[in-house]
Amino acid sequence: MFSESFLKVLIVLALVWTALGAITLLTLLFRDFRNRNLW
């Protein structure tokens, strides 16, 4: 059986990972815009 701590870590990790995804996309957008590489 999955432990309580495993479940907690899995969920928190997923939420942090998802948040980092948004930050990554915004950072890349800024970089591409600055380098005129958007499209």
């Binding site: 059986m1 479940l7 899995l10 948040a19 995804g21 996309l25 890349l28 957008l29 590489n37």
Partner: protein
Amino acid sequence: MIAATQISPATGWAILLTLGVLWVGLGFLWGRKAKNSEGFVLAGRKVGLALGSATAMATWVTSNTTMLAPLFALTLGVWGMLAYSTAAFGLLLFAPFAVRIHRLLPKGYTAGDFFRLRYGRSGWSIFLIITMIYSLSWLVSMAIAGGALLQSLAGIPYLQGMSLILAVCVLYTLFGGLYAVIGTDFIQSIIILVGIVIIGAIVCTQLDFGEAYQHLSLHQPSLLQIAFPAALLAIFNNMLFGFGEVFHNNVWWSRAFAMRPDVAPKAFFLSGLLWFPIPISAGFIALAAGPLGINIADANQTGPVVASSVMANAGLGAFAGILILVVLFCSMASSIDSLLAATSDLLLKDVHGGLLGRTLPEHGYRRITGAFIVLVGTVTWLLALPQWPIIEVLFISGPLVGSLIWPVIAGLYWKSLNRPLALLGIILGSALGITAYFTLGWYTASLVGAGVSMIFTILARFASPRPFPAQLNT
């Protein structure tokens, strides 16, 4: 039970019209960048890493991801969430394919170009039949989910809600082509990611993990079990379904063609990484249903019902309704627009140009491409009208797309193949996979389809293989 409806129809309409006007306005603005048919269909083939990663990720976040991931968690527990996340591997593996696609077809337009040149007219026809069944059922299932969701969340009648979502997506795709699709996908992906994190964080703060775990281990221990055979089968089935969906569908091929050659592999890999945690972030809230005593009347509405109930308990009722509606609207729009564009491209290039042999004049390309976008939108609307359980058709298409995995890999990387044998594998894989769906269970269908096709494709590599026609840039 706390009802999922948290906002009034007027608020629902206001949100939809605001977002709709925004998307259509941006589509019109970005559409002015398209100076020719290639610009309209493939956004000029110069899409960068930020927009490329976001559009691949946002397209893969569908209403199915945000609605079915909680359902997977509710029925298959921890493994269910992880099973859904394996669909990210399709995007990750498409990264090296994108390199090969650019090398073989530097001027390619659609996935149909690849199947026509590698597998001839027969293979091309089989591909077109499978991809049309899959794409239309995906499109219609999202239109139906959108209409049903607006009805349950905001009390907007099904027909009006479904028609509005579809009309908005058709309009901005019509005005802006792939420029509009990719541009709006970026904004939608940020809204989806931020919205999921906010909802997830609020649920976390409202949930006592210790109590919830005790409740689950006492009343629903199967959801926490490590050895859960159906869930373990679901992992491989979902992964193969995802491989088949991504590897064959023009949604992904058109994006590979639209991105710069050096950007495409990085963008697909990054989109897979970004997508991976979403089913867990969106799905885990379903595990709170039992411990919090939330009654799930309609399993398909698990996610919105649990999220809105928990947020309402935290005193965020109206905010919850608005946030959930915005996130789900964005997740639907980001996939519907991509499917509209990619499916109409297939009709334009492969059916209108290929099978019917018509040319696309540069001076009138907008009229013709627009006609195909409206046609796909109208067919989708007509099929969504009766609210058929078309999601079943989408699931049944799992073995069909699964049976295309190996022929795609063989066509991209091998130099020779017994093509009739490989095509026979697609047909038998599809037939046996559908049989398995009805006789063994949904979680075996894609496994069977991909397995049978794999055996035939490998046999085709060694049994009287013939070199592929040399029309590609090998």
